[in-house]
Point group: C2
Chain length 268, copies 2
Amino acid sequence: MNIPAQARTICLEIQYDGAQYCGWQRQPKQQSVQEMLECAIERVSQEKVTCVASGRTDSGVHARKQVVSFVLRSSKANLEAYHIGVNRYLPDDIRVLCAKEVSEDFHAIRNSYSKTYRYFFSLFPTQNLFYRHYVWNLSYSIDISQMKQACEVFVGTHDFSCFQTHPREKKSHVRTIQALSVQPMHDFFFIEVKADGFLRHMVRALVGTLIDAGRGKISVEDCSMILTSLDRNQAGQTAPAHALFLWDVFYDETSKEKSTLDLSWEVE
Amino acid sequence: MNIPAQARTICLEIQYDGAQYCGWQRQPKQQSVQEMLECAIERVSQEKVTCVASGRTDSGVHARKQVVSFVLRSSKANLEAYHIGVNRYLPDDIRVLCAKEVSEDFHAIRNSYSKTYRYFFSLFPTQNLFYRHYVWNLSYSIDISQMKQACEVFVGTHDFSCFQTHPREKKSHVRTIQALSVQPMHDFFFIEVKADGFLRHMVRALVGTLIDAGRGKISVEDCSMILTSLDRNQAGQTAPAHALFLWDVFYDETSKEKSTLDLSWEVE
């Protein structure tokens, strides 16, 4: 991309409820978060923009914090216009939390060194219906300590083909899970996973597998076998989208190093 | 009501999201929580029942905990059927939390000695869109300490005609507010009010008035004048329904005394 001398790169932190969207990325004939956000920005900037997000989220998946960057070629609008102003043109399920100007080579995906997702679930028979749109209510009992043991199997640098829904030839499925835990919160629990990158549907397949371990359907040893099998059919079901949140995105502002990850899924 | 010798009185604790309902009470041509619950119970009991709730909630108002009682004349079904069984026939925005058998003279309104409502609000510019269906997002700043001072004016036994939307002649508007506070919680605040009874729309008019005090539109002295004026036109706006929850209901199980309150609104 040719960036003119007067170009500015703007970074937004945004939040969205994914229920009404086909996901972050633009899709033909479907409503995406990207399209809604770009349209709102263009009403402020009066120029065409293309937003890059720290990672795609799938249909129905939410973002507590998503980081987005875009390049302005000519707009003189101040930063507040990209926070308060853009919010005026967004529906109430997408919000800009803050806007800042960043160095022109900033890239919301490539500069990110890790991201955190949280997946919320509640145990039968505890239910709090006010969270029903954001929590997976399980209709069976779960042994949380078994889930925690299963978590340990997946931490580290591995080929995660067992959690890859759309296998691609000649692309690396190696990712590093930096942290994986199950934690209580109010009336429910969440699984938190921090990694340097994610394959498509990876978190939800991981969650489905951990839940299988918690309900005693598979053992901790089975989890090791699933990981080494590299076979999606061995792992658990893809957990429903409505309880998954992109929770946080981490940038090392002091480092100029670009990620060396295979980002083709996340960039393309 | 003639209660046959074999009759049993069942008490349920229920929870509901009021957004899709005209309120607790049955209304012609509208969908009420009472109707949904009675229909679900009748599928289990195979007999017609009439549910009495601890208090009516208005259209759009939620219940974290509502207490409901009804009399069974002939059913032999066990208590679990009125918990797990009834839930099977309820939509996902109404839940039975527990069921118990109570003495036959138990009455969900008359035996209650107080109820608590919570009203949730958030301050500009803090927003968390995942709570948007249950929190009133204010677009102006608020002085919480002013709200707290205003709360003190309304605690105690008073004629609350200033908060009564539908005045009725010859009926007492005297109620006792036992506690009234403003408290922080996560990213927002709530107003909690505990009283021996509530006039129609009383909590929402009280909230509207407290918010006026918090934003500096009225002073604490004005609040005293509003209370003594007995005039609904002097008080603040009726706050929106979606952020109000019936939070808790209190019964003194050791006392056989019936409430001496004027319950005509809540019973009729």
